[in-house]
Amino acid sequence: MSHLTHTRSRRTGLALAAVAALVLGVTTACGDDSEGGGDEDGTTTISVATFNEFGYEGLIDEWNESHDDIKIKQVKVGTWDDAKANLYTKLAAGSGLSDIEAIEGDAIAAVLAESDAFTDLSDPALDGRWLDFAVERGTSQDGELIGYATDVGPEGICYRADLFEQAGLPTDRAEVAALMGTWDDYFATGEKFVAAMPDTAWYDSSEGLSQAMLNQVENPFETDDNTIDTDNPELKAVWDTVTGNAETLSSGNSQWGDDWTASFQNDGFATMACPGWMLGVIEGNAEGVEGWDIADVFPGGGGNWGGSYLTVPAQGDNIDAAKEVAAWLTAPEQQVKAFLDKKTFPSQVEALSMPEVTGAVGEFFNDAPIGEILANRAKAVTVQPHKGPKYSDILQAFQAGILRVVDGSQTPDESWDQFQTDVEALG
């Protein structure tokens, strides 16, 4: 009898332990999904949905410490594409969006097409805050300012000086810049590099390269009246260059994928096109890696990649507070701090001449004068490509097409044809 009760109590103990483990698993798996924004204690919580790195962590702490009535909460996702999927689902549902939604520059035109769903943020007090082209992109046809610009993305070339040295290439910023004045020079230098370093690719991903090149084309996917035209010679030239160099020079990784992220730690590639905000991404992914630097050059002239906007969806409950927070976050003083944190280059006129920006140094990038370099890169931008409402969708199809060639599942011609069909399906 005593033996029986003993085993039974042991079994009960085991069962209890197992159930406890299950419950623990369930609760941790579900995680905390409670929505803020309530007014339980008289405060309003403004949620800000961002992607990648906006450099807002410090700013949000600063705001929350000095404001009792309005608190900011950040909702962060990995990539713009995931943020976009969420945005459209919830726009359709008519609820569920954050009070402030960050929009990637390439997609702001698509958001302008749905301007009814967003608040007009026009405010005479803010006239002249931003660079003209940044305001233009965020303004709808009816003249409503839908998005406050956060940053712009003037592109330079980031490179691994240590790998350059191993390959027998110069490592000094100015000398490196001299090797990459045109795309032909850039690729030729790459050929030399991979000949010396066969295990390391020249650039991070074919998708990244394609974006860099697309940002130098006047009408990549759409004509000025937003008619879709993806069978144009300029686009085909970008396609041919990117797919033609894929096998020899590209890492072959899918940008933003796991292998791409891991390649920063594995000497996977030596250079990449880097707009200001990308510096923060590199610093995060390449933590602990020494040898990064940035050259004051961009092949084929300048280029602007991305730069984002803060919008206030009309479905929100706290539109006025959200507008106030969005205006505060995009004010020059705040964007300068975001720049110092995650290198998102300000789109605010006043910020560009502030000593914190002009004198900014990238410690991670071999103490490069990033403020000065990015300012030069911004001045070198001569082309602002026309990006219509379908730009972001077409870009996804375009990059999928490039990946099909990179991963060897299709020839460039097959993939180009499939890209055209995919674009037709976008309607």
Binding site: R11, L14, A15, A17, A18, V19, A21, L22, G25, V26, A29, C30, G31, T79, D81, D82, A85, Y88, T89, L91, A92, E114, A117, E207, G252, N253, S254, Q255, W256, G257, D258, D259, W260, A262, S263, N266, G268, D393, Q396, A397, Q399, A400, G401, I402, L403, R404, V406, D407, G408, S409, Q410, A425, L426, G427
Partner: protein, 345 residues
Amino acid sequence: MSQPKPDDADTRSGRDASGLPLRGPRSTKVGSSKAGTGRSLTRRQRLSRWDARFAPYVYISPFFVVFALVGLFPLVYTAWVSVHEWGLLSGKGEYVGLQNYREVWENPYFLKQTVNTLSIFVLSSGPQIVIAVVLAAMLDTHLRGRTFWRMSILLPYVVSPVAVAIIFGSLYGDKYGLINQALNTIGIDGIGWHTNRFASHVAIATMVNWRWTGFNTLIFLAAMQAVPRDLYESAEMDGASKVRQFLSVTLPMIKPTMIFVVITSTIGGLQIFAEPRLFDETTARNGGADRQFGTITMFIYDQGWQLRDLGRASATAWMLFLMILALALVNLMLVRRLGRLGGSK
């Protein structure tokens, strides 16, 4: 409670006045043949009859009410959407008949993603059920610490699919994944888990299997424990080996459970979404750049939320529904046939 008075019409205790278990039709028949003909009923009696007749339906109604709300209504509404032009943001447009169905049918991605779905389904459900039955048979023995083994086999099930996808993502990385790195060290070229169509299906199937095998094992285990033990004793006396006992006693006896598991995994397997979507490295997340491992539900998502055409998405959803229905019926027939073959031996 033990002796209800004849006029005590409170049937909530589950028994009528005569002490018989309540079964709707029978108790009302008793009532109508005796009382319904001659004298009129008291209000209390009438209430009691109504109670006996309708209460069972009221008790089971919550399921059907909820089902009508979240199951039937969406089904019908989806059909309504599928015959219209219907933009995600623009809303309802013209009536277009079956045009959405035709467009989906003619889309080459639809066929490709259907084949992917079936391939992943076969690669996951097949091994999963075989392994689950074998595991259940092993757990149905006198192991030490049985409860521990039985509960721990369910652990993968409580891990969220997102976490599973992250873990398996780093196992199956094309370049720096654990498996390919291991293959490289022994001199074998890495496998293109995200680019090779078949390899990607295998990778996703392992994710599904890892998560669901334990769950099905427990269901099979419950069925096995309900098998009368004297059947095994008789089999043993007839000289049947353990394997023979498993084939000739266990399998036929758990056939109803087998049918249940096969049908639920058909329904689940054909709707697979989270695993392939999270496994995807491309930004569009359509299941690989060439849709090597895109499934039908991902096609629905692409149509509805990325191309923003709810009409075509709904049409696809209905086609998937019919496909699941057909496949579940085929599986039902197959499992029945299989059981009969086993039984006739």
